[in-house]
């Protein structure tokens, strides 16, 4: 086998650099996503180091990363949690959609983007980062708080909205007409419902197929199945990512839990490559001019998320401080805003830099703001030992 020294070396250096950045981010209890983006921005043509040999691997890895991100999103999902969230938080989801998608759409219209661009930007400002927020709630020890179920419910409903939104966006972005897009959404929603019925009635069969005790077998089967479905979805122009999401939704219970366990390290690796690739596709000279717009959009949509969280927490009966914590924790945007760009980015040169800058701002500012907004005033007095790293 011919081994390319340049490829191995470049990949090794990139992964080592990402690990340093990731450790640095964790040290300050931030998400590594913005740092991965920055790493991508600083590499490539015109950056500090062009990486010609690793380029191909990064492109392939990014495609797999996108598939794994959405598979993991689907695996998180349980029909029971969805129906409970739906019962309690439909008004919160409505407030979330109107308050956060509209500023993005208006900004897109103001910037003179076409319909696909406007729709994409609306999605970018709408969807909070469920990955970063779940981690934040854990790090800040907020899982016991009264407002936390409201926050998690809003995230579940946002994730579900993606099942309708992503096919719509993908079909329109690939030049389809509105009726093709509507058909795409119908097919996707139909497939999601079918997936629910299948997993509800026959999920144990699929679960048995995937219940090999050997983790290696389990990983190969889930990954193989996902990539096949993703390829079929791509074949009918419904995007590989949507196909992977459907596979994730179909797996429930114990099978989903084990699949999550074996796939998490893989997802972390390829998702990092995906963020790197998005950073690579944007050049610094394009980023600087869109910075003012990105900052303004970030400020407006941070405020609207705070209002969303406050409203949702109010429905759980939380007090003013709890409502503020719920609002600020929702500010952060991350992986799925970038996924949206990954899906339409090729057709929109202006959108890529804008969204990269927007996510950079909010993925860094969001965790910082919620930390300040939710600092527990009594902890330092009662439990001095546990204070480190939490405030």
């Amino acid at each position: 086998m011919q081994t390319s020294v340049a490829l191995l070396l470049e990949l090794g250096v990139i992964l080592a650099a990402l690990s340093v950045l990731g450790a640095l981010a964790r040290r300050f209890a931030l998400s590594p996503i913005p740092l991965y983006l920055l790493a991508g921005l600083s590499l490539g043509e015109g950056g500090i180091a062009p990486v010609p040999a690793a380029g191909e691997f990064v492109q392939v890895g990014a495609a797999i990363g996108l598939v794994l991100l959405l598979l993991a999103l689907g695996l998180q999902f349980s029909i029971h949690e969805f129906s409970v969230s739906l019962r309690r938080h439909v008004p919160s989801a409505g407030v979330d959609l109107v308050l956060n998608a509209v500023p993005g759409a208006l900004a897109g219209w103001y910037l003179g983007l076409d319909a696909v661009g406007i729709l994409a930007l609306a999605g970018v400002t709408y969807i909070s980062s469920s990955g970063i927020i779940a981690r934040l709630l854990d790090d800040l020890r907020r899982l016991g708080n009264r407002e936390t179920p409201a926050v998690l419910s809003v995230l579940v409903l946002e994730d579900f909205a993606m099942a309708a939104y992503l096919p719509l966006l993908v079909v329109l972005a690939s030049g389809g007409t509105w009726w093709q897009a509507a058909l795409g959404v119908l097919v996707a929603v139909g497939a999601v419902l079918a997936a629910f019925v299948v997993s509800y009635r026959w999920g144990h069969h699929l679960g048995r197929l995937l219940s090999d005790p050997d983790p290696e077998q389990l990983m190969l089967r889930v990954l193989g199945l996902t990539l096949i479905v993703a390829a079929l979805a791509e074949l009918v122009h419904a995007s590989a990512a949507v196909g992977a999401f459907l596979v994730g939704l179909t797996l429930t219970g114990e099978a989903a839990r084990r699949a999550r366990n074996v796939l998490t390290p893989l997802r972390d690796l390829f998702a990092a490559v995906f963020f790197l690739a998005i950073g690579l596709s944007v050049s610094l000279s394009d980023l600087v001019p869109v910075l003012p717009v990105a900052l303004a959009l970030a400020a407006v949509t941070a405020a609207t998320k705070v209002v969303t969280g406050q409203y949702a927490a109010l429905r759980e009966g939380a007090g003013p401080r709890g409502r503020l914590r719920a609002g600020t924790v929702l500010i952060v945007r991350g992986e799925f805003s970038i996924v949206i760009i990954g899906l339409v980015g090729a057709h929109h040169d202006r959108l890529g830099p804008l969204v990269a800058a927007y996510v950079l701002v909010l993925a860094i500012a969001g965790p910082l703001v919620t930390r300040l907004g939710g600092a527990p005033p009594y902890r330092s007095r009662l439990l001095p030992g546990t204070n480190a790293g939490n405030s």
Partner: protein, 159 residues
């Protein structure tokens, strides 16, 4: 006692209750099998102060410690409802002929009619032990049967 159950989508469940001192206590049970115990402060009743985190094994140990002393007590409550039935305990001393031998070898039930329903071993409780369970010195057997049946088991174990 009222235990309030709250779903945490994507994370697991949270149980909440109030103890007799009036402290509101929450237990976060994650899908992964880990637990977190929180107490709600009086300044901000919505915020749980995280007291401790337990992994799956630690949580099992804690549950056994809290559960063990109450087992014989609960059997005692149960036997009150059936006239003539009693619950008793008998220790396996180091000199007993059944130390390091399976429970089945005592043939306790066929000889006395009384059943050994649990073995308390240190902090562990072996509930409804099988005949293959090997007895150790220091075990405490929880026995259910008539008074004479329980006395018979004691005699067999003492040897």
């Amino acid at each position: 006692m009222d235990v309030n159950e709250v779903l945490l989508p994507g994370v697991g469940l949270r149980y909440e209750f109030t103890n007799q001192d009036g402290d509101r206590i929450g237990v976060v049970a994650r899908r992964t099998g880990e637990f977190e115990l929180v107490v709600y402060g009086s300044e901000d009743p919505d915020q749980g102060r995280s007291m401790l985190r337990l992994n799956r094994e630690e949580a099992d140990t804690l549950a056994e410690i809290l559960g063990a002393p109450r087992i014989a007590e609960r059997f005692a409550d149960l036997t009150k409802e059936v006239p003539g039935l009693s619950a008793g305990q008998t220790g396996v001393r180091a000199g007993s002929p059944y130390v390091d031998r399976p429970l089945g070898h005592t043939r306790a039930r066929s000889r006395t009619g009384a059943s050994i329903v649990a073995i308390v071993r240190g902090e562990d409780v072996i509930a409804s032990p099988t005949p293959d369970e090997v007895l150790r010195a220091g075990d405490v057997l929880v026995v259910i049967g008539t008074r004479s049946g329980i006395a018979g088991v004691e005699k067999i174990i003492r040897g």
